[in-house]
Each structure stands twice: as structure tokens, then as C-alpha cells.
């Protein structure tokens, strides 16, 4: 009982094959997306989060502006963003420190969502590929990572199986 609520990473859940397959596909898919987003940014010397931050709407507008105004802070945010995406992506694909990867990914997505909330009355210059109201793809990806946090798979299919190796309960 205690272990279940604390989400002990060493615990190996019991899924059916189809459940496990679905969860691993979801995990690897999100990992792929994170990794590619990170790599694209890291490979482009001109990439900066400044444009995104400058378009911030809502309560974080002031914070975003302060970040852009300070070259040091902007550099730090850019670095954290690129490498955060890459590491989370690798973590999710390989199933390495999966829970930490899931939670970090959720935090990152929460930032993206909070800085550009698709709320009524907010419009953005950056074109979006769909139509969103309150719920957008960042939020959905965040929800998906939430699912992966509470239905962990890294200890079954993933490096976590080796990292947190334990004898399977008979």
C-alpha cells in the first residue's frame, strides 16, 4: 500500500503485454519529440528562446521580459532548455531515470504552457498549426507524461531495469 502511493521506482508493475506496449510506445514517442526539439535548438547557433519569451502573455509576462533583458539569464534559460529537452528525450527513449525524466518533462511543458497560455483573448504572432482553447498540445503532452509517471515502464522495458535491478518477486 505504502509503496504504491509513493511510486517506488524499484517496484515493477504488472501490466498485460498490450498495456505495456502502449505505454512504452507513448514513452518512446514523447522521448523522440523532446530529443529532436532539443537537438534542433542545440545545432542552430542562432536559436534563442527570446522570441518565444517576448511573446509571453499572462502572469509570466514580466518574468519573461526580465529574462530577455538580461543576456546572462537568457543564455542560462537557452542552455537549460536545449539540454533539458535532450536529456529528458534520451531518458524517456532509453527508460533511464524515467520518473525523473517524466517529471522534468512535465515541468518544462508547464513552463511552455504557462508562458503561452491559449486563453480567451490571447493571440500570438507565432503561427500555431491547430486551433486551441485552454487545452493545447503542450498541455496534452504534459498529461501524457503524467500518465507515464503513474504507470511507469522503465523498470520493465528500459535502462531502469538494470539501474534499479532487483529480483523479481516470485
Amino acid at each position: 500500500m505504502v509503496k504504491k502511493t509513493k511510486l517506488d521506482p524499484t517496484q515493477i508493475p504488472d501490466y498485460t503485454t498490450i498495456q505495456l506496449t502502449a505505454l512504452v510506445i507513448l514513452r518512446v514517442g514523447i522521448g523522440w519529440h523532446f530529443l529532436y526539439e532539443g537537438i534542433v535548438k542545440a545545432l542552430n547557433p542562432y536559436w534563442s528562446s527570446a522570441g518565444f519569451l517576448l511573446e509571453t502573455k499572462g502572469i509570466f509576462k514580466g518574468l519573461a521580459t526580465s529574462i530577455v533583458a538580461s543576456p546572462g539569464a537568457l543564455g542560462f534559460v537557452d542552455f537549460l532548455n536545449q539540454w533539458g529537452l535532450i536529456l529528458i528525450g534520451i531518458g524517456l527513449i532509453t527508460g533511464c531515470l524515467t520518473r525523473i525524466s517524466c517529471i522534468s518533462g512535465m515541468v518544462l511543458l508547464l513552463f511552455y504552457y504557462a508562458f503561452h497560455p491559449p486563453f480567451i483573448g490571447y493571440t500570438y504572432v507565432t503561427p500555431m498549426e491547430g486551433s486551441y482553447l485552454i487545452v493545447n498540445k503542450n498541455l496534452l503532452e504534459l498529461f501524457a507524461l503524467f500518465v507515464l509517471t503513474v504507470f511507469p515502464t522503465g523498470t520493465i522495458i528500459g535502462l531502469d531495469r538494470l539501474i534499479f535491478f532487483k529480483k523479481k518477486p516470485s
Partner: protein, 534 residues
Amino acid sequence: MSEEENKNTNKKPKKKAEKVSLTRRDVLKGLATIPVFGPFFYASLRKKRLDDLKKQEILAELGITGEVPAVLPKKTLRKPGALIRLGIIGFGGRGEALVHAAGFAHPDWIERKKKDVRENKLDKGLEAFLNQEDLNVVLTGICDVFDVRAERGIAASKNNARQIGGYGLLKGAKRYRHYQEMLESSDVDAVIIATPDHWHAQMTIDAINAGKHVYCEKCMTRTIEETYSVAEAVKNSGIVFQLGHHGRQQESYVKAKQIVEKNILGRITLVELTTNRNSPNGAWVYAIHEEGSPETIDWEQFEGPAPHKVPFNLERFFRWRCWFDYGTGLSGDLLSHEFDAANQILELGIPKSVVASGGIYYFQDGRDVPDVFQAVLEYPERDLTVVYSATLANGRNRGKLFMGHDATMEVGYSLSVTADWESTRYKEKIRNRIINTSLPLFTYQPGLKGIDTVTSATERYFMTRGLMYTMKGGRPVDATHLHVGEWLDCIRNGGQPSCNIDRGFEEAITCHMATLSYLEGRKVEWDPVKMQVV
């Protein structure tokens, strides 16, 4: 026993008991998703290679390297030499800006800018000022016919916000009631002329006669005749003359010139220049200072060489650009900037003919200069037309376009080149989808990582027109600062500044041809042999 203790006691023996070796099955399942990296990196590399190939192919075709920044004139990068003592004639809006560029700001301006930064952390005006290179100058003379402005100038000359020190700062500038007195003074080595246009020629010639170097604001003169006199005076002197087109220091313009030289646009047959403003301030309806009166303004000296003398008039004093008696209208104020940019990029010179038209359509406030104005400049020898279109009653940015058979270049603070869908040169690449004509072939933005936005509508206008800041080493630099710096460098080390008398002559004659055409309703031609307007 608490739950916590229970957990601990359960855990310890368990850990020891479970230290057993991994099975092959564990390893296989542990590494099961690693092969995903295969297709991931294959796809990523393929995509990157394709993108790079496209980019390289485009850049190779164009013969340019994507990242090479434009090089600012070396002169401005040299260390300043001996101290130069500056005098300024005319301390209005532009005069203040020029004095900032030299390193002096009124304490009020510093306070206002601090407030701007508090309200908008992205406002780089103060940062650019505080970090600008020390030009090793002191402001020793101020001449303004309005007492309030003269006092402001003195306060600015003493302000040590940039902590540059120097004896001049302690003493502050001396106020001269008449510019002639300043020119006679041995305390001034060089003068900045930022008065209304009708005084430019006379003051420049008098300054040359007094042996002072001259930085003069545009339009260089008010009339065609004055232009000849100034050109002759400068050429027969040993002084350094710089005309105030600070766009000459704009990084994007330097890059634009390289692009034209590399023939990326194909044959350029049309250049479109525009002015788009939509505010009273933009239409020269400046505020009338509450302390302005016959007691505080030397009206007689203000009028000076103006062709029509009228009784004291506050509107005419503060909004002088609205009358041809003092100014040169859209032509000398704003076509001059646009023309100088095109002249810098294409080395156009004076057009063969100019036809201009327009009217006073929106600001019918007693002015005699048009607020909507168009001029067509013909260069038959270059197979090229320059069209200038200006309005003071609509702010839509219409850009500055250089239109070639193969591509169009839009130049402002940044620069973009877009291939033409019917281009001959890029035909193959357009068909092979290497070049997409709905997207720019490439863009060039100075200081790519240093985003800078500015507050006021006027500043934003100047930014998009490429007139405010340029980038030097990734930091915002006031283009005027570089322009004044270049002038001072030529004074110290010799050489010709970028907007010397030849460029000034071309600018002034072209603008006056446009004004003449508008006023007389006829096509005005330039005789290059006789060097005359006909």
C-alpha cells in the same frame, strides 16, 4: 512501531537478499528501446543533411557566406587621439541626440531613460549610451537662439553620467548668443550644425572660413544655389565635413551593398523607397515650449536667411519643418534619408530627371510643405528608376525594396532577400524545390541573439527604417554615435568620412530637384556636363 520504522526494517534485509546477477532477459529488456536511436539519428541526420545541402547550394549559388557579419568602417574602431573641443549650433531634438552620440546627456534624459528601463526592461537606449565608446571630446560651446535649450545644452555638457571626467566637464560649455561668436572662439575645434535647414549653408561656410571642422545635419542645404556654394567652400578647405546621414553606419546597409555587388538580385531596374508616418510628431507638429516667447527666443537670428520674414511666431519656431522658408519638407527631411541609403547601396549619384507630386491632404494646419509626396527619380544610364512614396497620414511599413530580375531585397534594420518566382537564374533551383519563393532566400539580422525592442512609436519607426541602433560586437550602438565618431576620427587621422561633401552634394541636389518639380509642377532634369539643374 511507526510506519517509517517498519519500512526501514523491511528494506535492509531485502536489499542484501536481492543481490543476484542479471539474467540475459533483464539485459535485453533493459536495452529494448535503444535501437530507436537508429532510426532517430538516421532521420535526424538525413534531415539535417538535406537542410544543409539546400542552404549550401543556395549560398554557393549566391557566392556569400551566411554568417559573415558586415564590417563597420575601420575608422570608427580606431582608438581616439587628441582631445577635440566641440561646439554645437542648435540644441533642439536632433542637437540633443547628436550630443548624446558624442557622450553628453542632459540629467533629465538620463532620468527619463531610467524610468523607461523600469517600465520596459528591453529598452536599450540608456545601456547603449552608457556603454558607448569614449570619443575623447568635450563640449565647450553651445549656441541656441532659445534660452531654455541653451541652458539644457550647458547642463548636458556638465553631466558626467558616463564618468568620462575631463576639465571641460567641470567648466561646462560656454553659451554663445550668436554662432559667429562661437566660430571666432579659440575654444572650439569643430562644430555640429543642427539648426533648421535654412541656416545650414551659411553656417557651414562661415565655420569653414573660421577653420572649424563641420558635422552638418541633413538636408545639407535649403536651395540648389546654396548647395554649389557649400560644395565649393568645403572642397577649397582643409576641414573634414560630414553630413548627418547616420544610416551610413547601419550594418544592414553595408551588408546590402555586398549583396548587390555579388549580383544576387540580378538586374535591378526598380527601387522603392517609402516614408510611412502617422502621428502629429511624425508630421513635425512638435510641442510648443511653454517658456517660448519673444523674450526667450532671438527671433531675428532664427529667421536669418529665411526668404520671407514674418513677425514672431511660436508655431514657425517650434514646427519649422512645416514651412519651406526654413525647411525642405518631406524631400529634404525624409527622402534625403531614403535616397542616401539607396545611394550608399547602389552608388546612384544624381538622377537624370525627377518628377514629383503631392499635396497638403491631411495636416491642413497652415503649413506649406506637402504631407503626401511622391517622387520618381530616373537613372536611364543605369536602366533604373527610383520611386519614393511618402505619407504622414498612414503608418503601414512599406519597406525599402531593391527589385531585381532574380530577387527582391528588403532593407531596414534587418535585411531579407526573396527569390523572384520568375527568375531566370534561380529557375532550376525553384523547380527542384531547393529555393522556395514564398520564403526569404536568406535574412540578415544584426546581433541575432541580442533581441532589442524599443518603447516609443517614433523610436520603433526609426528602428524599422534602420536609423536608430546598429550592432557592434552584439551590443546595440547608436548609429549616430558611430557617425560622429567617424567624423572625429577623420579630423584626427585624416581621410574622408562616409557621408562627405560629394555624397552631400548628390543628396542635396536630388532632394531639391524633387522639391522644385513639386513646386513648379514639371519634370526637372540634371545636366551632368554643366553640373546644372534644368
